[in-house]
Structures are given as C-alpha cells and as structure tokens.
C-alpha cells in the first residue's frame, strides 16, 4: 500500500441558521469544531495514517488547526486544500471533497449537519464518508466522539480494516429539474412558499409532499413525521412518501420534532412506500423544494421536477462495526512482555 490518506472537511457555517431564532437550536462553536478536527488527527496518528488532508475556511477552524500544527504534536503529515479560492458557500465543501478524492483519500470525515453531509455525499464518489454532527438537524451525521471516529476512519484508510466489512451504501433521493440534479440523504419536501429565503425549513404549514430515505421513530427533522406514522429502518431498500396538508384538513396530524426546539403539528393526508427506481413527479411548480431540511430549489411556474429513490448513494462508515472489527483483530491491542509471560 502506498501513502495512506484521509480527509477532514469542517463546515464553518454549520449550526448558524435561522433556527437559532425560531427555535432553541444550539450554536456549535468554531473552537469546538477545531478541537474535534484535532481529536480526529490525534487518533489518525495512532492508526499510522501517513497524511491528512484538511479543508480550509474563513471561519477560523483551519487557522486554529494550523496554529496547533506550529506547536508540534503527534499528528500525521497535515496538508490543507488550498488550491481552490474560498467562496463562503457550499462550493467550498464540494471543492475540498473533490480534492480529497483526487488525492486518494481512503475515508473522508465530515463535520457539519445534514446540509454539509449532503453536499459532501454528492462529491465523494466511492470514498466512504464518516459524518459527525456539528449542525442543527442531524438525522444523517452521527453524534459520536471524534476521537473514536478518528480511530475507525484511520484504521480503514490505512487498510487495517477491510472497508467492505464496516461500510455500507445508503440510498439517496435524487431530484431532477430542468436545470439541476441534486441529491438528498434523508428527505425531500415540497413547499408552497415562493422563495428559498433563509433556507432552513422551520414552518411546516406550507408543505405538500414529503419523501424520505428512512424514517425512525426517534428521528429529528421532517423524517420524524413518517417516523411516527410508518417507520422505515435505514436498512430497508424502500423509502416512504407522504402527502401533507393544512392541519384541520387532513385525517392525521403528527406532533413532530421538525427541528431542535420545534415540535409542530403536521397534517398528513396519506402515505405509502417509495420503491427504488420509481420516478415520481413533484407538484412543485412555482414553489420550493427542500433537501434535507433546507430550501434549495426554486421552481418557476410550469417547471417540472422529479424525485427518485436511488440505492447507489455514498458509502458510509459504521463506526461501531469498525471498532468491533478492530477489537476482533486486536488492532489497538499490544501484548507486552508481562502479558506474554503471564500467558506462558
């Protein structure tokens, strides 16, 4: 095996949207994001990873890591993705992930919320993602200690653990309009509102259709609506489709935690399975399509849009399985002379 590489993308803007005003969503400080990157790097070093490739940002995360790098430490070689100009938009995440794929990264660790993971997933090809939660709605990224995640990622990137054993491919929802093709990792929703506005979706009253790759009863975000009506595990190849409507006009109303601090009644007209490979036309003309809880696509009057559940989404790391495999193979275990003596 040649040089072993892993990437770390940290979104400086995650956890900063309007939900800090309309709900009690918490702010995830930049300093903690920088700390998490450093904890991942420290774990990488233990796994023997040769090189870590980091995203850059204007929010202070990469600057903090760079300062820490100057102080010395037991880290792998650290390089920054500096070739693309920073835009302060999602394009920065896309560019960084592409650079990491080109550099031969074995795993990419993503620090952000559902929105960041979605952007990374669209650019990572077959490189496994390990998404850690630093955002607002976190249906997709895992709430995990970065040190353990760094160990799992490092062991996979260095080839000590077979990725086939500890990663799996997730389904995505692909949305196609005349001009754009986008994916969502968790949910696609149609809203009657005319403009993207502040992006984050926090008012359910204007929603008409909802499609989810999975629906867990203890989920947060829009997928919590089917999570309470028609749960569908992440392991299922099928998704769910719901028709929504104003509360008072629908046979079902779900009190759903659509965002941190926001439990709202959502009217449901009906639901059904969403089979992979079936193309559904969205009645979204003149409205907005939200992807993973963020209003993303404005549709012109008369413009059509389609959604399809596709089984060939990104590969994602199962941290628990990876660490269990590490234990089985004894990768983090050393038998000392004292141990050998006792065994004799």
């Amino acid at each position: 095996m040649g040089e072993t590489v892993a990437g770390i993308v940290a979104n400086p803007a995650s956890g900063r949207d309007i939900r800090r005003l309309v709900a009690q969503a918490s702010v995830f400080p930049t300093s903690e994001k920088a700390n998490m990157v450093q904890r991942v790097l420290a774990a990488f070093a233990v796994t023997g990873l040769d090189r870590a490739l980091l995203s850059t940002d204007l929010g202070g995360i990469s600057a903090t890591v760079l300062r820490a790098l100057g102080r010395g430490g037991t880290w792998p070689k650290v390089d920054f993705c500096e070739d693309d100009p920073l835009t302060g938009t999602a394009a920065d995440t896309t560019n960084a992930v592409r650079r990491m794929v080109e550099a031969g990264a074995g795993v990419i660790v993503v620090l952000g919320g559902d929105g960041t993971a979605r952007v990374a997933a669209a650019a990572c090809d077959d490189v496994p993602l390990l998404a850690l939660s630093t955002g607002t709605n976190n249906a997709f990224p895992q709430v995990r200690e970065a040190t353990v995640a760094g160990l799992a990622a490092g062991l996979i990137a260095t080839g000590q653990i077979d990725p086939d054993l500890v990663t799996h491919r997730v389904s995505v929802l692909e949305v196609v309009t005349k001009a754009r093709r986008e994916i969502a990792l968790v949910d696609v929703c149609v809203s009657l509102s005319r403009h993207i506005g502040a992006r984050a979706l926090w008012d359910p009253s204007s929603l008409t259709e909802l499609y989810c790759t999975f629906a867990e009863p203890d989920g947060i975000g829009l997928s919590s609506v089917p999570g309470q009506l028609c749960p569908s595990p992440r392991s299922s190849p099928d998704g769910v489709a719901l028709q929504l409507g104003p509360v008072g006009e629908t046979p079902y109303v779900v009190q759903a935690p659509i965002a941190p601090g926001l439990v709202r009644p959502v009217g449901v007209r009906g639901w059904g399975l969403l089979r992979p490979g079936v193309r559904v036309e969205l009645a979204a003309a003149g409205g907005v399509i939200a992807l993973d809880g963020e209003r993303e696509l404005e549709l012109k009057t008369g413009e059509s849009a389609f959604v399809e559940l596709k089984p060939d989404g990104p590969w994602v790391v199962d941290v628990r399985a990876a660490m269990a495999e590490a234990a089985r193979k004894g990768l983090l275990r050393i038998e000392t002379e004292l141990g050998k003596e006792r065994r004799r």
Binding site: A13, R16, D17, I18, R20, L21, V22, V27, P29, T30, S31, L58, G59, G60, G88, R194, H195, I196, G197, A198, R199, G286, E298, K300, T301
Partner: protein, 280 residues
C-alpha cells in the same frame, strides 16, 4: 405580496442609483457648488441587506450605521432628496434627522444600546439596529455593547459584516445567525424573526453577513438586484416590464434630486456642532 416586492425592489434600486450618481459626482467633480461637506462611502452590492432589514422597521425604531450610513437611511424611508441635499450641505424641506452614524466604528453599538434602552423603558416596542462593518466588530466597545444588550435584554439587532462574529457572541448568550447578505429574501426572513423576537422581549440577536465590497460596477451572482430580478420574474410574481418601469421612475427621481440639491439654499443647520451638544 407583489406590492411588497415592488416596494422592496424600488428601495434597493434607489440606493443603487443614488450611489452610482453620487460616485459620478465625486469622480467627475460635477458639483457646481464645489463643496461636498458630507462624505459618500460606497455601499453598492449591499442594498439587499439595508432593505431586507429596514423594511421591518417603523417610526419607533432607530438605526445606527457606520460611515456608509446614507443607504440605511434611504432604506428606512428617509426622503432621498433631503439626504442628497444634506450631502451637498444644503437643505430641502424640513430638517431631516441625520440618523446615527459614527466615524469611530466601535461607537455605533453603544449608541444603539442607548436607543434600545430608551425604547424598553418607555415601552414603545421599538428596536435598535446597529450596522457594523469595516472591522467595527473588533473594538472593545462592541463587546461591551453586546454584553450590555445581553445583560439588560435590550431589543437590539447587531448586523455584523465581519466574518466570524456569529460564533463570538455565543459566550454572551446572544444567538448568532449567518445569512447571505446579498439575498434579499434570506435577509428579510431572518431580520423579520430577529426584530419580532426583540419587539416581543426576546432580547438581542447578531446577524452575520458576508460581502465583497464593490468598487466598480456590481454584477453577476453577487449582485443582489440581479438576483432579486431573476427570482421574482422566474417565479412569475413580477414582470420584467414592471421592474423596468421602476428603474425608470428611480432614475428620474435621482436626476431630479441632484438638480434640486444643486440649486437648494445652503443649509442653515449644517453645522459640525449640530446634534453634538445640548443645553440643560
């Protein structure tokens, strides 16, 4: 809704043309008076911010800006002719309050806390909005103001054009929200929530907006006016012709304002000591 969209576009367009005309005056020395008592710092490209915030404000509210203040005043509804005349050191109509501005950038947040405290004590429901740019967020007075606003639960909205401030206010218990300052709809929605929250006793908010300041013509995706145009025509809410008509109206207004400003009587009140001292 279309009336509101037309109104928002008219305000943004007025700020843009006002700026461009003023720049022309500065660069060509077209002023017949040979005098320019007030300065006109550039604001082009940031019209969506001033408009998206100020459309939520009314007579109860106060704004304070940096030296780029003329545009915030137009957005809040000041008479364009009076503002232009004031820049010329002349007067049209009754005296217009010059608004709060502070060349020492760190002064703005403290001034706006004063207005917000007054609104709170008098129970007017008014809010204060401080526009902070050009590193105004870095002086210690800004931190004092944030602390004060948080401790006294003042109805203040700090609008910081400096990157990274949404993070720094965490320690003060003030929510920090990042918004694309060149997107009218994003600014309008976030500012509306922040201002409603302040009016309802919810305390201060900090909005962090990022910009590239334009020195030449503004264009491309960063141009908030072009973005607004594309979106409202794309959605079918407003026709191109309606927006073109507004452009023509605004161009006429600015040309008339310049002509009137040049011939208006010198301001009796233009005095560097005005609004600085009061008698007790």
């Amino acid at each position: 809704m279309t009336d509101a969209l037309r109104g928002a576009y008219r305000v943004m367009r007025t700020i843009r043309v006002f700026e461009e005309r003023l720049r022309q005056e500065f660069t060509t020395g077209e002023f017949t008076t040979g005098e320019l008592p007030a300065s006109g710092h550039r604001y082009a490209g940031e019209e969506a911010l001033a408009t998206g915030v100020c459309l939520h404000l009314d007579a109860r509210d106060a704004i304070a800006g940096t030296h780029r203040r003329h545009d915030h005043r137009i957005a809040k509804g000041a008479d364009v002719k009076a503002v232009l005349a004031e820049i010329h050191g002349r007067q049209i109509g009754s005296r217009h309050p010059p608004g709060l501005a502070n060349g020492a950038l760190g002064g703005v947040p403290m001034l706006i806390c004063g207005t917000a405290l007054a609104a709170k004590q008098q129970d007017t429901g008014g809010v204060g909005v401080a526009f902070l740019g050009d590193d105004a967020a870095n002086p210690g007075t800004t931190l004092e103001a944030l602390h004060l606003a948080s401790a006294w639960h003042l109805p203040v909205i700090f609008v910081a054009e400096d990157i990274g401030y949404a993070d720094r206010v965490v320690g003060f218990g003030v929510p920090g929200v990042i918004v694309d300052g060149a997107d009218f709809f994003a600014v309008h929605e976030v500012a509306g929530e922040a201002i409603d929250r302040a009016r309802g006793g919810g305390g201060p908010t900090l909005l962090e907006v990022g910009f590239t300041r334009h020195r030449g013509p503004v264009g491309g995706d960063h141009d908030c006016l072009q973005r607004f145009r594309a979106r409202v025509t794309g959605s079918g809410e407003l026709a191109e012709q309606v927006l073109d008509d507004i452009d023509a109206e605004v161009a006429k207004l600015i040309e008339e304002s310049v002509a009137e400003a040049k011939t208006a009587p010198k301001s009796a009140w233009y005095d560097s000591a005005a609004d600085v001292y009061v008698s007790y």
